[in-house]
């Protein structure tokens, strides 16, 4: 293929002319500015979805391990099966097109919020499953010890089980946080102008597919790498000496 043309990023998106310094004054925009803007969307959608996933994943994960509450356990099971067994793309379409058709009130909800919720709930099922396995990996005696001390169910979850369970699931949680960045590309299918959309459109306009592709790739790698490092730092900080083997760095 012909030689590289990295200057493509400094072109104006309307006139196609090179802009000195690569940053055009508003309302003009270069492809670099457009890409950074698109990256902003990817980060917004991903972090929003991660927050939703952690909150719902934690609640559902706990529900699935409650003793003597068969209906709550079943509810948690149903949640996981529902969100884990429907393909992500289909779920996003349901949130974007089907839900507003059935419940007209949701028509004015911003599409970004729908995608954040859709992606968040999909991931929540996976986090719930991880948290459940984390809680069940603890020796049963811990739960009994909490009970014997007279702690209520919320108390022994809060002070005995969850602190250890979260430490156990830090490595899969790291993977999940990185996955959410990669999965955020589905937002493209419901018209969020994020990185994947930028790749398709800018590549087409400039006919420099490879340069645009590599730029987008670099931003995805950077995003995932930052999440990975942050999670590793958290994991190290929270480590309880002697509890979990200290060999793994948590990386991938």
């Amino acid at each position: 293929m012909s030689s590289w043309d990295w200057a493509v990023y400094c072109r104006d998106t309307v006139s196609g002319e090179q802009v000195a310094g690569c940053f055009a004054a508003a309302p003009d925009q270069t492809y670099l500015q457009w890409m950074l803007h698109a990256w902003g969307w990817t980060v917004t959608v991903s972090l929003g979805a991660l927050l939703v996933a952690l909150v719902f994943g934690s609640v559902v994960g706990v529900l699935r391990t409650l003793p003597n509450k068969p209906w709550l356990v079943r509810l948690g099971d149903a949640w996981v099966e529902l969100f884990r067994n429907i393909p992500l793309l289909v779920q996003i379409f349901i949130w974007y097109y089907v839900v507003p058709a059935i419940f007209p009130v949701t028509q004015n909800v911003p599409p970004t919020l729908l995608v954040v919720v859709g992606l968040g709930l999909f991931t929540s099922a996976r986090i719930a499953e991880q948290l459940r396995s984390g809680i069940q990996a603890l020796p049963r005696g811990q739960r009994y010890a909490g009970m014997a001390l007279g702690l209520t169910t919320p108390q022994y979850y809060r002070f005995v089980l969850l602190p250890m369970a979260y430490r156990i699931i830090m490595p899969p949680l790291t993977s999940e946080s990185m996955n959410i960045f990669k999965n955020s590309a589905v937002a493209f299918t419901v018209s969020i102008p994020e990185l994947t959309q930028f790749y398709y459109q800018a590549g087409e306009e400039t006919a420099r597919q490879v340069e645009i592709y590599l730029g987008v790739l670099a931003l995805y790698i950077l995003s995932a790498l930052v999440v990975n490092r942050v999670m590793v730092v958290i994991e190290r900080r929270l480590r309880v000496p002697g509890f979990i083997a200290t060999g793994g760095a948590g990386g991938h």
Partner: protein
């Protein structure tokens, strides 16, 4: 790990860059030709079950008929579905020998591929819901406008927005069906796209009378078949066949069949008589890029 991936990706692109030069010799040797077709364009679309039809698809089949005569054996047509994103790389790397879909001939693309004679001239227009009261691009101020990612219409829209000093919110569908769904579901007030694509989508809607095409011609774009760059013998063979079809009147007849008579799958007519621009392109076969049309 990441370095290996990058090297792998670069190698993959390098392989994509390599291509055979003599398409006529290649199709003669293999006895088959790979034809690039589209799934939901007005000029080339699928009926499902690997059946591909449309004005440009049938025209391409006739071109291949002429090519068969030229190479002296019946060529087997391999239909290859392409998208807006992959059509140029696939033509470059030899996966597709001849692409007759709805590709706009423009100067940027001419650096990567060659275009045969223009066989259809497209105008970019605005589709709206019939009861929306939108009559021209000026009425789009403050509205939401849909268009399809990976098409020239996105740039057209941006240029018009700047030139006319109007401000609207753009939403990008991932394909034409998706963009039309945005209009149909009320998420967008208008859908800016090639006129034929708008007409095709409207004809397939649940209730075609709910939509109409309005406003000025936002951009004029020559649509042509695409072949590999720097293969003059093959380009000439394709051009000769197109010239032959225009001369003996079969191309206008074919146009009538696909644009003015009921067509599958819905058996509805697009009701789009050939425009003056399209007729001019037939009268004077050329492969001028879109930029030459804007100067007029």
């Amino acid at each position: 790990m990441k370095k290996t991936l990058l090297v792998f990706a670069l190698t993959a692109f390098a392989v994509v860059g390599a291509h055979a030069d003599d398409t006529l010799a290649k199709i003669k040797a293999s006895g088959s030709i790979s034809l690039g077709v589209r799934d939901s364009s007005a000029l080339s679309y699928t009926l499902g079950n690997d059946k591909y039809v449309g004005f440009h698809t049938e025209m391409a089949e006739r071109i291949i008929g002429d090519l068969s005569k030229q190479v002296g054996k019946k060529l087997d047509i391999k239909y290859t579905l392409v998208t807006s994103q992959n059509r140029i790389p696939l033509v470059q790397n030899g996966t597709v020998d001849l692409e007759c879909g709805s590709t706009t001939n423009n100067a940027a693309r001419q650096k990567d591929v060659d275009f045969a004679y223009t066989t259809y001239v497209e105008v970019v227009r605005i589709a709206v819901r019939a009861n929306s009261g939108i009559k021209s691009i000026k009425d789009l101020n403050g509205r939401t406008v849909a268009t399809t990612t990976g098409t020239t219409s996105v740039q057209t829209l941006r240029k018009n927005e700047r030139a006319q000093g109007i401000d609207f919110k753009e939403v990008y569908g991932k394909d034409h069906a998706d963009s039309f769904l945005l209009l149909e579901s009320g998420r967008a007030d208008a859908f800016v796209m090639d006129g034929s694509i708008l007409a095709a989508n409207i004809s397939r809607a649940k209730n075609p009378a709910d939509f109409k095409i309005v406003g000025e011609e936002l951009s004029v774009e020559p649509i042509a078949c695409m072949v590999r760059k720097d293969d003059p013998a093959f380009l000439k063979a394709v051009d000769d066949s197109i010239a032959r079809q225009i001369k003996d009147g079969s191309l206008p007849k074919l146009y009538h069949k696909w644009f003015e008579e009921p067509i599958p799958p819905a058996n509805r007519s697009l009701n789009m008589p050939a425009t003056d621009a399209t007729k001019a392109a037939w009268a004077n076969p050329n492969n001028k890029p879109m930029e030459d049309y804007a100067k007029k």
